[in-house]
């Protein structure tokens, strides 16, 4: 490791520029060939005198450039088939170049850096040993698939990563044949991999199936369901457990790194250090050897039991589920990985095998290694300094406002507790954790458990707030229906990332939550139109103690309204909306963030001589009947706008109006919802354009319904 100590830029000693002779002898004596940087450094040392260090650029003089680093070997690889004739040394060089390339690309586009850096060697080894796309390689969640994309023919498009019409930030079947299964939510690869293995068996094919899953994703129940089934079916497949001890995101709270959540992680760590048992193993092996001859089968069984005894408590978990456990393996040693994968591939009947690979998130980029969150998700940054280019906004994000609102509620009421599923940073609950360490619960990637856990807390009289992204709560839907809503337990759901989410794309998009929450009989469903409303709605939710409630808010920053004093909101009257602008003829009834678009649309329409009424419904359930009646009776046209799918707010309004007889006269009702297709990743502005929910679209709709097609076209052409 000392070699790395002076290989890193922090070397202060005068070793640099010193006697090169001495250094080469040092290098040759180091046995730790598994450390790629040291190896690479050694190669460099023979050429130059100074410490090259690890850098975004591979240039030997250790310079940090903002242009593309030289990657001679990687330039010759377009597809995995081009890797087949490389020697181990060349593969290591390829891994180094791939690392540089990933750092360079992510620095230009932003994205998930740490996880991709941790699996560079694994990706190289997998593509070297296996023959994608015939052999199926599945990446759980997919955010660590950047090196995989570079090696499978998409290197020239990496500059479009996570942008409109560009590469997806996750694996996507429609993007490439090498992406076998689309991912974005976690813990799905073992299930999908088992499906592919069984399908292969039924069709009589002979390819391999490899599913890569992280230790964080392993905390989800679906992974166990899959392993249980895999053990039972006994179909040949390989599961690679990528263990980097990072279970929750970010992998740190505000004050420093946190230990992984859950009992499984400590079991996995125990697996990694089992020294005294090795001797026992040797003894057992000796005994079985002596038995020999016709006793072979019995000896094999003895060995199996000895293995189970010796390998430690964690591996027997996988063994009990029916997976053959191999490991732990150094995930940054290409030699080890290739040796193991080749062996497993060449063995004919293996059944399901689990290879426990230990990696380090952010490995190879010192700033990522040092950072508490390991640079999990970054904006564009400068490779030389590791500093991210974060644009400063005048307001904070809705996430932060939510956390502050919840803290204010919790200070007033000691029964308020918060629950999240491994997303302390994403939901803002790290702030809550810092203030109330015993009242914030991180359950790991287990949304279903989080909801029922909250239900249990509510039974005891506490006030649980479940902060789960709109798209992730889809996983826990039955728990919401059966455990919370059916029993009318007062659990509060705070659904962040509602609506379109930008670069993460359809896998993280919260399009459906209005639909599936508002159809539940006992649920109170509301949405704030700005951050002050968010504060009030958190207070309202805290006050609703006899039934479940939920509120949704989008990704992004606030609009800049004044916040309530002390961050403490005032509970709203349930089922009451508000009118923001009084107008005539046409009324826009918005729900949630769409209200802002409605206000902008009203401003667009005003110069053309029409004053729109803009109303904020606030509640989808219970609807403000009086407001809707008054709007319906005093206007010719009512347009409902929401950033959700069909079956949500607009449908509820229509249902009410139909039953109330409001549609029997001359009222024209038009809904504006997200279109009936998935909106691809891109910038938020582009996505809204594609969805047809921008203020221009709303204004154009107004004119269209009024019969003024020309004005509608004018408005759209101004965009």
């Amino acid at each position: 490791m000392a070699l790395c100590a002076f290989a890193f830029p922090g070397n202060l000693s005068k070793a640099v520029g010193a006697d090169p002779q001495k250094h080469t002898t040092l290098c040759s004596q180091w046995l730790r060939g598994t450390d790629l940087q040291c190896q690479f450094y050694c190669k460099n040392k023979q050429v130059r005198k100074r410490a090259a260090g690890v850098c975004a650029s591979l240039s030997e003089r250790g310079e940090y450039h903002s242009q593309r680093p030289p990657t001679p070997l990687l330039d010759t690889i377009n597809y995995p088939i081009h890797m087949k004739n490389l020697s181990t040394k060349e593969l290591k060089q390829l891994a180094d170049e791939l690392r540089s390339d990933v750092i360079f690309n992510v620095s230009k586009t932003g994205g998930h850096l740490g996880s991709s850096l941790g699996v560079i060697e694994l990706t190289v080894a997998l593509h070297y040993v296996f023959n994608a796309p015939r052999d199926r390689i599945l990446w759980d969640v997919g955010h660590q698939s950047y090196p995989h994309k570079i090696l499978t023919g998409r290197r020239d498009k990496m500059h479009t990563l996570r942008q409109t019409n560009g590469l997806s930030g996750f694996t996507k079947r429609s993007e490439s044949d090498y992406d076998c299964f689309g991912a974005g939510h976690s813990s799905t690869t073992i299930s999908a991999g088992l499906g592919m293995a069984v399908g292969r068996d039924l069709k009589g094919r002979k390819n391999n199936v490899v599913a890569v899953i992280g230790d964080g994703a392993m905390t989800a129940g679906q992974a166990y369901e899959a392993m249980n089934n895999a053990g039972y079916l006994d179909s040949d497949m390989i599961v690679i457990l990528n263990d980097n001890k990072q279970v929750s995101l970010p992998t740190a709270n505000l004050d420093g790194p946190i230990p992984p959540v859950g009992a499984l992680s400590s079991a996995l760590s125990r697996l990694q250090s089992n020294r005294p048992l090795r001797e026992l193993r040797e003894v057992a092996k000796g005994v079985t050897k002596q038995i020999g001859g016709p006793m072979h089968e019995i000896a094999a069984k003895v060995d199996e039991y000895a293995r189970g005894m010796i390998s430690g408590s964690g591996s027997t978990l996988f063994e009990e589920l029916g997976l053959y456990y191999i490991g732990p393996v150094d995930g940054h040693s290409i030699d080890d990985l290739i040796a193991i994968l080749k062996e497993v591939k060449s063995t004919q009947t293996t059944g399901p095998v689990l290879i426990h690979v230990v990696t380090e998130k952010g490995r190879g980029y010192p700033y990522a290694e040092k950072a508490a969150d390991k640079y999990h998700g970054v904006a564009k940054f400068d490779p030389a300094t590791g500093k991210q280019f974060k644009s400063s906004a005048p307001t904070q994000s809705y996430t932060t406002y939510f956390a502050e609102a919840l803290i204010a509620e919790a200070e007033a009421d000691k029964d308020v507790v918060a629950i999240h599923a491994a997303m302390g940073g994403g939901t803002g609950l790290n702030l809550f954790l810092r203030r109330f360490p015993t009242r914030c619960f991180d359950v790991g990637i287990a949304e279903q458990h989080a909801v029922t856990f909250a239900a249990g807390l509510a039974c005891e009289g506490l006030k649980p707030f479940c902060a789960i992204y709109s798209s992730f709560i889809q996983r826990a839907y039955d728990q919401v229906v059966h455990d919370v809503d059916l029993q009318k337990l007062p659990v509060r759901f705070a659904m962040d990332r509602a609506g379109l989410v930008g670069a993460d794309g359809p896998t993280h998009c919260g399009a459906f939550d209005v639909t599936f929450m508002a159809c539940l009989p006992n649920m109170v469903v509301m949405a704030p139109s700005d951050e002050a409303e968010l504060f009030h709605m958190v207070a309202t939710a805290a006050a609703i103690d006899d039934r479940p409630s939920c509120f949704r808010y989008p990704r992004g920053n606030g609009v800049g309204v004044e916040l309530p004093p002390g961050n403490k909101g005032i509970p709203l009257e349930v089922g009451k909306g508000r009118i923001l602008i009084e107008g005539e003829r046409v009324a826009l009834l918005g729900y949630g963030s769409a209200v802002q678009s409605c206000l902008a649309a009203a401003a667009l329409v005003e110069p053309r001589g029409l004053r729109l009424t803009v109303a904020d419904a606030r509640f989808c359930k219970p609807l403000d009947h009086a407001l809707i009646r008054s709007l319906a009776k005093s206007h010719e046209i009512l347009i409902t706008v929401e950033e959700g799918s069909i079956g949500g707010f607009g449908s509820h309004v229509a249902q009410f109006m139909a039953l109330d007889g409001l549609l029997d006269d001359k009222l024209k009702w038009r809904p504006l919802v997200l279109p009936d297709r998935y909106i691809d990743h891109g910038s938020p502005v582009d996505q809204m354009m594609q969805a047809g929910l921008t203020s221009s679209h709303i204004a154009a709709t107004v004119f269209n319904v009024l019969g003024k097609a020309r004005e509608a076209l004018e408005i759209m052409s101004e965009v």
Binding site: M1, S273, P276, R281, P366
Partner: protein, 198 residues
């Protein structure tokens, strides 16, 4: 595994291996005391080696401390550190350095960068000040890895290889009899079917 001689040996402890890199092996530096055995019998917990470190460390020409690099007194506060760093970073960044001195400047830049990173973090600064007082200078990454846990980890890594090698051999052995007649799992039946038809 650890022969103690004047040349560097592949040992797990970064502390020791750091020193031989010093360009001018100072006559005062004792070559590793032969009495120290830091590779102990298996089962005996590995002793931390920092205490031994202090006895052997004697330097007359110290490398510049982070404070010297930044040009601030040891009692400098965060503002001074920031200002010094900004100034020097602007001066030494490879993109703005004069072409003939790029190497030298980049090296300095990296050093200044590390100095700032360590000193601006109060926790790390405290650790660094402690080490400085003891008279030793570590690169931050080496410092982070020092400790009992790291030593144990290194030894364990060596064990890992032998462990998975035996696991692999067992897998191969097991595959011989895995699909024998009485294994009725779905996968075994499909495999038998596939082998019969091919």
């Amino acid at each position: 595994m650890c022969c103690i001689s004047g040349v560097i040996i592949p040992i797990t402890d970064p502390c020791f291996s750091f020193f031989p890199t010093r360009p001018d092996p100072h006559p005062n530096i004792i070559s590793f005391p032969a009495s120290v055995s830091f590779r102990v019998r298996p089962g005996v917990p590995h002793r931390p080696v920092k205490s031994i470190l202090n006895d052997t460390v004697q330097f007359s020409s110290d490398p510049p401390s982070f404070y010297d690099l930044l040009g601030i007194p040891e009692t400098g506060n965060l503002l001074e550190i920031k200002q010094a760093y900004k100034q020097l970073a602007r001066k030494y960044h490879p993109d703005v350095s004069p072409p003939d001195q790029v190497e030298e400047y980049t090296k300095r830049f990296i050093q200044v960068q590390e100095a700032y990173e360590t000193l601006s973090d109060p926790r790390r600064r405290a650790l660094y000040d402690r080490d400085l007082a003891k008279g030793i200078h570590f690169a931050f990454s080496a410092r982070r890895r020092i400790g009992l846990e790291f030593d144990e980890q290194m030894e364990d890594k060596n064990e890992w290889k032998s462990r998975w090698e035996s696991q692999l051999s067992h897998l191969k052995k097991r595959s011989m009899y895995k699909d024998s007649g009485d294994n009725m799992s779905w996968g075994a039946r499909m495999r038998r079917q596939r082998n019969e038809s091919s």
